[in-house]
């Protein structure tokens, strides 16, 4: 696997490594499929709205759009499976491997390693969230100092990662309703219908409103943060969003004397 320098310098500015190429490609596949699925799905949910028909016609109307939706859904499901394999691979390579080398493989240690993965919510997230509200309500002048993944980013991550296993199988079952009716009661299809459309609405509203606020609409990000393309976050954003990780990285790179304060 390619080794990424933790700090890259471009035009005299520091950039901090966040996402590898494999992760960035996964994200690009994720958002293109999700947007396509939303555009070919919501016209059906809101069929009687004036925008629904023209939008649906753009994707080929009722004769074509459902197939675009299904094929895109399959790609997204494949991505989900790949991503699951990907983090399991990383988990074994980086953590279980270490335990084996150090001969510390016990159930307790495995659980501990599992829970300390960077995407798993932990106690610090809870404290950060409380601190965030204290800060937002003017009860402190010190914003929370996030580590590598803040609790907001974990929300962003789990919106699709919990959404896909709900939406995907429900969509597949509705697609293969004839086969499903051989071993599941028919009313399950009614349940899948609601699961598919309502979870989709929740995911879409969350992603296109909350996530896009975080990476597009927020004043310091507008029109878009570039980290999803370059994999590197500018220093100012790093200080603003991941101060704990910033401090740690600067120390590791021997740049302790150049650490900037959280406030300017």
């Amino acid at each position: 696997m390619q080794k990424y320098p933790k700090i890259a310098i471009r035009n005299g500015k520091r950039y901090f490594f966040r996402f590898s190429l494999v992760q960035r490609v996964q994200h690009i596949i994720l958002f293109t499929t999700v947007i396509t699925l939303a555009l070919t799905g919501f016209p059906l949910r809101y069929y009687d709205q004036p925008w629904a028909k023209p939008l649906y016609e753009f994707f080929g109307g009722i004769e074509v759009a459902p197939y675009i939706h299904r094929i895109t859904g399959l790609i997204l499901l494949a991505l989900f499976l790949f991503h699951t394999g990907y983090w399991i691979y990383l988990f074994f390579k980086n953590r279980v491997g270490k335990l084996i080398r150090e001969k510390r493989v016990t159930a307790g240690n495995l659980v501990k390693e599992f829970l300390s993965q960077e995407m798993i919510p932990n106690g610090k997230d809870g404290r950060d969230m409380v601190n965030m509200f204290k800060y937002l309500l003017y009860f402190t002048n010190r914003p929370p100092r996030y580590d590598r993944i803040s609790w907001k980013e974990k929300f962003d991550y789990f919106a699709p990662y919990w959404g896909i296993p709900i939406l995907g199988p429900a969509g597949l079952a509705l697609w293969y309703r004839d086969e499903v009716s051989h071993f599941l009661p028919g009313i399950v299809l009614n349940a899948f219908y609601i699961m598919h459309t309502d979870e989709a609405l929740l995911a879409a509203l969350f992603l296109f409103f909350v996530h896009w606020y975080n990476v597009h609409y927020a004043p310091e990000k507008f029109p878009l943060g570039t980290v999803f393309l370059t994999g590197y976050l500018p220093e100012a954003d790093m200080i603003h969003e991941h101060y704990d990780e910033y401090l740690q990285t600067m120390k590791e790179e021997g740049l302790e004397h150049e650490i900037k304060p959280q406030h300017h």
């Binding site: 059906l44 069929y47 003017y138 002048n141 009716s181 051989h182 509203l205 704990d244």
Partner: protein
């Protein structure tokens, strides 16, 4: 014209059926135009209109408000009429009470009378009576099993409740397709049936029954005239707005977007292969929608042919606001509603506060020293 027409065929009067307000205008126009029509008259363009009814009824504005306050349109689109199933029938064959011209308001047409056409496979005069008989035995018939009139008999459909004639629509788009006879198809008939009239008439007759004349959306619209009416539902003790719930299904949505493959009301409510007039109540053991027959209906060869028996358990007409009848759907919707509200309100408030915080970045009720920022706190 060689129509079997009876004694009235020789009359060449114009038929007038207009309200007094535009009567004078129309009468003078009639006089001028009748002169023109006599000059340009040719048998080929007049179809079966020997009484020249279209002379007046071709005006798009020919209409009035009737005694019940309904807007009535009397316009006939001659082009469509000539391509329609009744093109060889004279107006008076159905509108039998019209004896003089200008005529009084005509009575409703009885579709079960024999018309002057001879049914080509036999020697009998043609009638729609067999259709009426099927209808009378179906759930839509006006009489109950004992032969008595059902309650609210006036609510039950007659022929024209569903079969509106496109002839009376002033500007109708014929579903975006070329209306009428395919010349290419016709050329095959004409090879042997050398008199064009015969080939055209029978080709039109046969193909019109083989084509799907109305898209699914239109069929649902026809049923909605009664079954989409809340008051009607209540009057007849029917369960929920079945048309509204149809639109909420994938079938309905596909139909709404113009799919011609998707099932409409008829496809599921008529026993496969039977006349569409024979719809029965779901309580009848032979009904397509009887719980015992639903799976068979879904599996009819063109639809869910590979489906298992359980497909019958899928609920088509769901009222999402009725937790007693549809508890699963109703509770699931409530769950998602609360989940969505919780997640979105939380983040809307968060974003709102975050934007507010930017207004006074330095302000705080409780000041904490900045110095701590150089060393990470022991929070791990």
């Amino acid at each position: 014209m060689n129509m079997p027409g009876g004694s009235n065929c020789s009359r060449r009067d114009t038929i007038n059926r207009m309200p007094a307000s535009i009567g004078k205008w129309a009468l003078s126009l009639t006089l001028i135009l009748s002169g023109l029509v006599f000059i340009s008259w040719s048998p080929g363009t007049q179809a079966a209109d020997e009484l020249n009814c279209v002379l007046c009824h071709k005006y798009r504005g020919l209409s009035r408000i009737d005694e019940q306050g309904n807007f009535r349109l009397f316009y006939i689109n001659e082009d469509l009429f000539k391509k329609g199933p009744h093109k060889r029938i004279q107006c008076k064959d159905c509108h039998r009470d019209i004896e003089k011209i200008p005529h009084d308001p005509a009575k409703k047409v009885d579709c079960t009378v024999q018309c002057h056409l001879i049914e080509p496979s036999g020697e009998e005069k043609f009638s729609h009576k067999p259709v009426a008989e099927i209808l009378s035995k179906s759930v839509h018939g006006k009489l109950n099993e004992d032969g008595d009139e059902k309650e609210l008999a006036e609510d039950f459909p007659h022929c024209t409740s569903c079969h509106d004639q496109p002839l009376y629509r002033p500007l109708s788009f014929f579903k975006g397709h070329e209306a009428g006879i395919s010349e290419r198809g016709l050329s095959r008939c004409k090879t042997c049936h050398r008199t064009g009239d015969f080939a055209e008439d029978f080709y039109a007759h046969v193909t019109s029954r083989l084509q799907k004349l109305r898209v699914s959306k239109e069929i649902a619209g026809i049923c909605a005239k009664c079954h989409g009416d809340e008051e009607f539902q209540e009057r007849h003790g029917l369960q929920g707005n079945v048309v509204a719930s149809y639109w909420e299904t994938f079938h309905g949505k596909a139909a709404y977007f113009g799919s011609e493959d998707t099932p409409d009301c008829i496809d599921c409510h008529v026993v496969y292969g039977e006349s569409v007039h024979s719809i029965e109540s779901k309580d009848s053991p032979t009904s397509a929608t009887n719980p015992k027959n639903v799976a068979q209906t879904c599996r009819s060869s063109e639809c869910h042919s590979r489906a298992g028996e359980n497909i019958a358990g899928y609920q088509v007409h769901v009222d999402y606001d009725d937790p007693e009848k549809y508890p699963l759907q109703s509770y699931m919707l409530t769950f998602f509603k609360f989940l969505m509200a919780a997640v979105l309100y939380f983040f809307v408030i968060l974003i709102f506060l975050e934007l507010l915080r930017r207004l006074f970045p330095k302000f705080s009720f409780i000041k904490q020293p900045e110095a701590a920022s150089k060393t990470p706190p022991g929070n791990q």
